[in-house]
Amino acid sequence: MAVFSGDWIGLAPAWLCWLVPFAGALIVLALGKISRKAMESIGAASVAASAALALVMATWIPGADFPIRLTAPWVELAGSSGDLPFPAIAFGILVDPVSIILANVVAAVGALIMVYSIRYMGEEPSTTRFWFLMDAFVGSMLFLVMSDNLVQMLFGWEGVGLCSYALIGYWYRDSKDPKSWLTTWVGEGNESYPPSHAGMKAFLMTRFGDVLMIAGVILLALSTGSFSFLEIAGRVGSGGSHPLLLPASVLILFGAIGKSAQLPLMEWLPDAMTGPAPVSALIHAATMVKAGVYLVARVFPIFYIAAAADPGLIRFFEIAAWVGAATAFVSATQAAVSTELKKVLAYSTVSQIGYMMLAMGVAGTMAEFYIGYAGGIFHLMSHAVFKAALFLAAGAVIHATGSRFMHHMGGLRKRMPLTFLGVLIPSLSLMGVPILFSGFWSKDMILEAVLESGNLPLLAVSLATVSITCFYTVRMVGKVFFGSPSAPAAAAVNGGGADGHHAGDPSPLMSLPVLALSAATIAMGALGVYEREWLARLLGGYIGSLVGVHGEIHLGDPAAQIMVSGASLAFIVIGAVPAYLIYVRGMRIPTWRPLRSIGSFFANRWYINRAYYALFVYPVFRLGGWIADRVEEGALRSAERSAQSSLLWIVGRLKKTHTGGLNENLIAALAGMILLVAMLLLVVVP
């Protein structure tokens, strides 16, 4: 069914899909001062157009012979031909199932979120900035996804990081008045951060990973002689293993860890919730934070082939798997005690991305890599859809109650029925409730891969995380929608507050995207059994052709599947039932001291955030203060003063010789001539 020709024109959707949002961003900038409506329409329409283009690409999947790669010369260093080991950089696009799937997720979810934003951001001042950055973000993200080499990818990578930074700090004025504090800040106590701080934190932490990643990219290019994913994969198999490959792989993994907010660089994402809800939904749940998983999926064939030649490289996958599992567990525990609605979702995002990382990691350690690989991509897709829905719905709830704290919500089930539905369905998917919800299929596929890999500690951690996930999801739904309405929230919902018009469900333009995403979750769940097989065959076949594994794709034995489903069902019940009893039924449980201290340990974010501040942030401030006090104000200033005073002293003395009297001047001139003669005769002549 190949209805396209393999040239730049025939593959136009592959580059138009990111060019259109970039163009949209520029038009938005121009329209900002002219017409708000036009600006919003263009802003949303450009993303919708790129969703349509992505859909066109999806129609290529059945017929095309992947990978399709188009390149044009870009940067050719003088020594590219052989004098220097540094390869030339081509500009290229890579069309394959992985990039097409990602492009569809990004553009389709993005389009719905943009529609939601029209109303959500409607009352904000200076929305030009929002629309410009959102469009630029979608453009950068698709540019990243369609890149055929690591250098080009880094441009998109940094582009999304920049937009993310600017959008986290969208309310950059950091207003401290209670109303703004309740909606735009994040955290409580001494871990409470204003938007601009959160933006900077996100920027710096991801930058830390990026710097390591750039080093890794350079090492990889030095050891293989190319930047292109496919070329590296082609070269890495021949000619044995290179000693730089393992360090390169781990350094590149750090880029993924930073972007996808995995341990040890996960602390920025929970605080990134200062951004508007659509930003959290699009950038910090559905798309950008998946870039790390995508990066691992992109370099997966390279290191999979390399690991076949040098078993030492298995360590790359083991590290990825353990990082993912540990992150999934740690952040799930934090979600279980979080007091803020969006922060619960943020921790949950981190945790779910941990699952994806885990899936990619275990995939690399086994021959049937496709279960893990397809599971990771599948979970990426389903999570993008249901988490976007959750964030959008959470945005509506926060909009309605005027607070980001769950203890200001409660009992909203009746007042906001559509929003309740828009939270409930994605929540069930997040929990992995069987059969009808996409999260069940994708999460079980990951668990299956972990089981198949035979790594029982990993399986234990990931099953425990299932329980905690269910616990915090039910707790969240219970606290927000069940129970009795709490005072401030009740005031707003009953129309008593100043924000009376917010009571109840938001306008259709905001509800529809949420419901559409919820419906997509159910659709993906209903078709889950086919979908997982389709994905496994597609990705297994494609990656298999890259790594040279051509075997029958079989999705594990039924026994394992049933075992995994049964186990995960049991763990769902273990987590969900107590939460149901406590938070939905309102059962009072006796507080048990050790449980409370564990809870406070979780609530303090395992003290990781504090440790980072104590180790990296405060010492730098102190050092800066010390330098300002001692070096700048002290040493430099006094040196400056003494230089100044000694110069002035010299000038003062010198000035006295410049009397301006003609007699003295003439005498000086005469003396000068005599001196000159003396100098000539005494210095030069001998």
Partner: protein
Amino acid sequence: MVIDLPVYLPLLPPLAGAVILTATSSLYRRRSYGAVRWLVSLASLLASLTFLVLMVPSVPASYQLGVYGPPAGSCLRLDALSAFLCLTAVAVTSLSVAFSYRYMEHDRGKNRYYSLMLLLTAGLLGVFVSGDLFTLFVFWELMCISSYALVAFRKHEWEPLEAGFKYLVMSTVGSLVALYGISLIYGIAGTLEISGIAEALSGAGIVGYFPLAMIVTGFGVTAAIVPFHTWLPDAHPAAPSPVSAVLSGLVIKGGIYAIFRVLFTGFASYGFAVPLIILGAATMTIGNLMVFAQQDIKRFFAYSSVANMGLILMAGGAASRIAGAHPADAGLAYIAMAGAIFHILNHALGKSLLFLSSGSMIHSAGTRSIQSLEGIARRMPWSGGAMAIGLLSLAGIPPLGGFWSKLMVLAPLAALLPAGDPALAAAFAVVLANSLIAAGYYTWLAQRIAFKPAAVPESVGEPPASMVVPVVILSIMCIGVTFALPWLIPVFEAISRSLMGVR
């Protein structure tokens, strides 16, 4: 196409213009003829510029004046260095004259003013093209005497009168010393033709050092070499700003030109490098330090002119030292000399820019005090911006012109540091230290002019276009020098080779 034009031709229009202006002055007494006088002088300068440009392809050219042949007769020579300096001189003078129209509009006796400017230009051009010392001295006196009169042009004020008198006395003493030196040279060599002196002097021995010292002293007064510089900080600020621009930008270069020409061509066999380095070091250091004591913007610039002359002298001395003591590295000597010549251009452009733009500020704000002029660039963005460019160029901030010429002086000295020559090492240290000091005070002044809160009243604004345009042209030239580097550097290198090549 090479048109064979006689070398004196560029001198004729300014001389003729001066004669016409003076001869007709009694016919047109009314003030409204100011524009006519201005146009006449501008036209004669542009004619001179045209001739010069036409003559560029035919350099080197020479012309024997009168019936006597060498050694007694007068001769004019236009070589690359002369042509370069003549072009610079006419360009800067034209801009200063253009600037004068509105600046001098309330002064009386503008026919005298313009004819003096033209005579000054003619004298300057004559100095640059003279082939023998006698002709040089005649034009030298023409230049000096018109300068005295221009400094004291506002004769109803005390300051110009005093400064002009001081300049007159100092410079005349200098001229007499130079004349005495010239007569000694004639006595020893039997010729005054500069290119012929060298051979005759080579056997003279110690006796030759006396005329050498007298030439350096005599012309050094005009070149403002410490300790002969004392007249300059009085004379340059006292003169009207366009005159200050010409004096600081060009006339003092006449002094340094005469020294370089006579020393490098006539006294080629004599060692004068170390004294030039010492004089240059003293001139730079004292000039730079004295800048800090100044409250008056024009005195500030005057002392910085002293410092820049020191740098040029120092570069010449260093070039001579390298060529003499390290013949293997003669290439570096040419670079240092090219740096000196390049710095003549940069300083001519930069300093005339500074004096003209400060003239605009003084014209508008009515004060010369730096304190009162703080922040004036906020009121006069064009003049202030141009001044900032001039300051940054002379401060040696890359990529403006001054950076490159200082680099061309410093680089050969740095390259020879391993050679362990104490004179060159000291020269390097002094030039580096002085460049830093200079960069400090220029940027400091730029900051005060541009970024401080405006101290002048709101009513102060840009001067008329005829005053803004020359300043802007000069600032564009300061920037344009950088873009012209690929063409300029070979030219300067060729000039420096021809100047030092007789050795």
